[in-house]
């Protein structure tokens, strides 16, 4: 299955959330690969703690491959290359976790027919090799998004399931932006339809992921002074209504990740160790990622509302 992670703005937790999803799928035994299509600023290596390719690799990355400068994009086995103390001991029963880094000086480039053909070829090969192919696209309506829409519209990829996760923060501006990014006149949906996607099918394969969500009903926010708590609850209800009006409501949401200091300050993977041993991260955060990873392939979560 192909999973595209997109967002309208930066700072929506797209890379961190996607990396965590990939990590938890691999822990559960799936073979997973992570493609860093964030051509502006490849960051996934930092989240996986692979310092040798921090900020992208010098050459032979995904950019070089798509532009025809490399036969094969470089692939890194995360379990072997990471410096994360916990990850280095690959847990028994886990699947492969492979990172395809972007080029350090890649930047954005126009999508030509050649790159589309290479893209198709790459996705088809990875699809047969991995259970989940997670593609982290750069923010906004970038060339990476165009390429993904173009490639998935081609007949060669029919039958290969593709799903879109749109990441946004739980604030007014982000909800409005995410809705516009998905359904607006220059959004993914209209862009996809222009490339030959079926509107209902594409819409059915899109879900939203909320990041840094402040839930007034769970600690520490539930312990706020009464007036502040009343204010937060009213604001939260208003946000829910706004989201519902803009098509970003509950039925279009795959999951939500709570506001978590560890994620805010250290964009990192959340492991059992962080939650149960050192206890620097909240159990809700771990649960949120596990849920997201599970729902990714759970057809109930992808039914039409």
């Amino acid at each position: 299955m192909l999973v595209f992670a997109a967002s309208d703005k930066g700072g929506t937790g797209r890379s961190v959330t996607s990396a965590n999803i990939a990590f938890h799928r691999a822990l559960a035994g799936d073979d997973v690969c992570y493609l860093d299509f964030d051509f502006g600023s490849p960051t996934a290596a930092a989240v996986f703690d692979v310092p040798s390719v921090m900020g992208g690799i010098v050459q032979g990355g995904l950019h070089s491959y798509l532009q025809g400068q490399a036969h094969e994009p470089v692939r890194l086995d995360v379990w072997a290359r990471t410096e994360h103390p916990v990850l280095r001991h690959r847990p028994a029963g886990s699947g492969n976790l492979v990172l395809f880094p972007g080029d350090r000086s890649g930047g954005e480039f126009a999508v030509g027919n050649d790159s589309v053909i290479r893209g198709i070829d790459l996705f088809l090969r990875l699809h047969s090799e991995f259970d989940v192919v997670l593609v982290d696209l750069s923010a906004g309506r970038s060339y990476a998004v165009d390429l993904a829409l173009e490639v998935t519209a081609r007949p060669e990829l029919h039958g290969v399931g593709a799903r879109w996760l749109i990441h946004h923060r739980w604030t007014r501006q982000h909800v409005i932006a995410a809705s516009g990014f998905a359904f607006g006149p220059r959004g993914i949906l209209s862009g996809g339809v222009a490339r030959g996607h079926d509107v209902e099918e594409l819409r059915g394969s899109m879900r939203f992921v909320r990041a840094a969500v402040l839930d007034p009903e769970t600690p520490p926010w539930s312990l706020a002074p009464p007036a502040q708590s009343a204010w937060m609850r009213t604001c939260d209800q208003g946000l829910h209504r706004l989201a519902a009006d803009r098509g970003v409501g509950y039925s279009a949401m795959l999951g939500s990740v709570p506001l978590e200091p560890v994620l805010q300050w250290r964009e990192q993977l959340i492991t059992d160790e962080d939650v149960f041993s050192s206890r620097v991260a909240g159990p809700e955060t771990l649960k949120a990622f596990q849920d997201l990873a599970g729902k990714l392939t759970d057809d109930d979560a992808w039914g039409i509302p």
């Binding site: 819409r203 829910h240 039925s251 509302p305």
Partner: protein, 612 residues
């Protein structure tokens, strides 16, 4: 016990979903499909709050609130709930539609034989009943409104097809229910010397005034109404003739089902064959109240704004509205006839059935409450009604102790039994049992409480509702299937006979209605007393003045504690001014805080000046 409508409703919803959903699937149970009244009541337990209270709406999965979602977790996730409701409602409409005869309003197991030894025939159990007609109107309107919103929220083609089918079935059922209500309405004319006439004269005169005077006053009081009935309603020739005779008494309202020989109502809607009526043309106080409750929903704001009625249905609704109006005026007039109200003589005696019970007093009071809602009665009337309500609670042993061999136990268990006149033609005579007295009393008290704008009667009503509510809440079933639902009479009256069919959906549905009424009660702005407004504004003026004086003192640094205190005083006074008219009590509390703060500064200065 304080009523917390939202929490209590959520408790009830949780109990309903636990009882009715067997691992996520709706289970009609053994009793399901046997009585259209019971099944409609059960569905309304969910649908009524969902339509009446915005926070309980189930038609939009995106805005379902967290606590509601938790209460309904046995049903499924937010996106599943509306789909399941559509399926369940469709099953209901299917079950109660006969092949070629259109919608059915069967009373089913709610009917009993008067003689416990006899068994009712199938045909009798299939007879419609006003409870079902009225409940169907409420349920159909709730369903139509629900579908209207949900249709725009789902994109599943198969659900759209289901919605379309359900909508058509619901519209047909609504029309059929309205037609049936029209055909159950009756006007009964009788001579003052008939037994009925004598009973009515006794009620109105209360043994104080001679029958001749009562008849004269009746003529005066209902002259206009009599003319309206004669002109606006199509009556049989015989009845119309007798009604013009001023010396005849009359009453109007609803019989228990379609009236015998009532002509079919012409309609273009496909409601199937209209069955022949069986009921004698005699109104029942109980069924009249039931019908009035349902008809009211037809002209509610929600029905109008959502445009739920077709032009054909609007025509029928108008005809019903006219009967509603006439009946309301008539019974409100009867209840308040003369100087000492007949209503105040508890244990009302019905004319048509010659029965005596506090339940009928409550029914008459209910009609009066409807009338008060429309502000046709005065504050004085309201205060007198409050006293009646209190006495009813006392009389039914809700606010007093049940003594041994107390006859009031009948109100609670087994309930008041109404013999259904005319039901004996196709089998043994039938009866109808009503055992929802406390819930009805609670509902009417809450409605009255929401109306009253007078502090003392409001407070009396609030105490009464809390008392009755504590009683009702105590009567929930504790263990086993149906835990958290009603009705366990033995919980409050250990000596009462055990109930036959737990849970009682009619009781549970009435409590749900009470909670919805309670929601609207607390949604209103609080009563404001003009005395408090006066005191609060005097206080405010003093505080504002002292606050102004404080600025004659040398200014403090921006972040000093004194300037912070002054800022907080300023904000408090501004807020007090804002809420002064609506919440004078709140304004007072704010001003008092500010005054104390200002005075602590003044005291400090005074202490300092003593030392010089």
């Amino acid at each position: 016990m304080q009523i917390k409508p939202r929490q209590h409703l959520l408790d009830i919803w949780q109990a309903v979903s636990r009882h009715s959903f067997e691992s996520g699937e709706w289970d009609w149970g053994e009793e399901g499909g046997l009585s259209s009244v019971a099944d409609a009541e059960r569905l309304l337990c969910l649908m009524y709050p969902a339509t009446e209270i915005p926070a309980f709406r189930l038609d939009d999965p995106d805005t379902l609130q967290h606590d509601v979602q938790t209460a309904l977790k046995d049903v499924g996730g937010p996106t599943e709930i509306p789909v399941k409701l559509v399926r369940i409602l469709a099953e209901f409409m299917d079950t109660y539609t006969a092949e070629d005869e259109g919608p059915s309003f069967a009373g089913g197991h709610y009917f009993d034989a008067c003689d416990p030894g006899e068994e009712l025939t199938e045909e009798q159990r299939r007879l419609g009943v006003v409870d079902s007609f009225s409940m169907s109107i409420t349920l159909c309107l709730a369903t139509l409104g629900f579908l209207k919103v949900y249709r725009g929220r789902t994109r599943r083609a198969e659900v759209h097809a289901l919605i379309e089918k359900l909508r058509a079935a619901t519209e047909t059922r609504l029309t059929a229910a309205m037609v049936s209500l029209l055909r159950s309405f009756t006007v009964n004319v009788f001579d003052p010397d008939d037994p009925q006439g004598r009973t009515l004269c006794d009620i109105l005169g209360q043994g104080q005034i001679s029958r001749r005077v009562v008849v004269e006053r009746f003529q005066q009081r209902f002259k206009a109404l009599r003319a309206t009935v004669n002109e606006r309603l199509v009556l049989g020739v015989d009845i119309a003739d007798r009604l013009t005779d001023q010396n005849q008494l009359f009453e109007c309202g609803w019989a228990w089902t379609l009236v015998k020989d009532s002509p079919p109502v012409e309609t273009r809607e496909p409601i199937g064959r209209q069955p022949a009526g069986v009921a004698w043309p005699v109104p029942y106080l109980y069924f009249t109240v039931v019908a009035l409750d349902g008809i009211q929903d037809l002209s509610s704001e929600r029905t109008l704004t959502l445009g739920l009625l077709t032009p054909e249905q609007q025509r029928l609704a108008e005809a019903l509205r006219l009967r509603w109006e006439i009946t309301q005026q008539y019974w409100s007039g009867i209840a308040r006839f003369g100087d000492v109200w007949p209503l105040e003589d508890i244990r009302w005696r019905t004319t048509g059935q010659s029965m005596e019970s506090a339940y009928f007093s409550l029914s008459a009071a209910s009609i009066l409450v409807h009338d008060l809602v429309r502000r046709r009665a005065t504050d004085e009337d309201l205060t007198r009604t409050v006293a009646v309500m209190e006495r009813l609670a006392e009389h039914s042993r809700i606010s007093s102790r049940m003594t041994e061999e107390d006859t009031a136990i009948v109100l609670h268990a087994p309930g008041v039994r109404l013999a259904l006149q005319g039901s004996g033609d196709t089998g043994p005579p039938m009866q109808w049992t009503v055992a929802d007295f406390p819930a009805q009393l609670l509902k009417r008290s809450i409605q009255l409480c929401a109306l009253s704008r007078n502090v003392s009667s409001h407070d009396r009503l609030l105490r009464l509702t809390e008392r009755v509510f504590a009683h009702v809440w105590e009567r929930r079933i504790r263990y086993g299937k149906g835990a958290g639902l009603w009705d366990d009479v033995q919980a409050v009256y250990p000596s009462a006979p055990a109930m036959e069919r737990p849970p009682s959906w009619s009781f549970t549905e009435r409590v749900v209605e009470c909670m919805v009424a309670g929601h609207w009660l607390y949604n209103q702005a609080p009563l404001r007393s003009s005395e408090l407004v006066r005191s609060a504004s005097s206080l405010l003026s003093e505080a504002t003045h002292l606050f102004g004086g404080e600025f004659l003192e040398p200014a403090s640094a921006q972040d000093s504690s004194r300037s912070r205190a002054l800022k907080s005083v300023e904000a408090g006074l501004a807020r007090a001014r804002e809420v002064l008219d609506q919440q004078p009590g709140t304004a007072m509390a704010l001003v008092l805080g500010a005054l104390a703060e200002l005075d602590s500064l003044a005291r400090g200065r005074r202490a300092a000046s003593r030392g010089e």
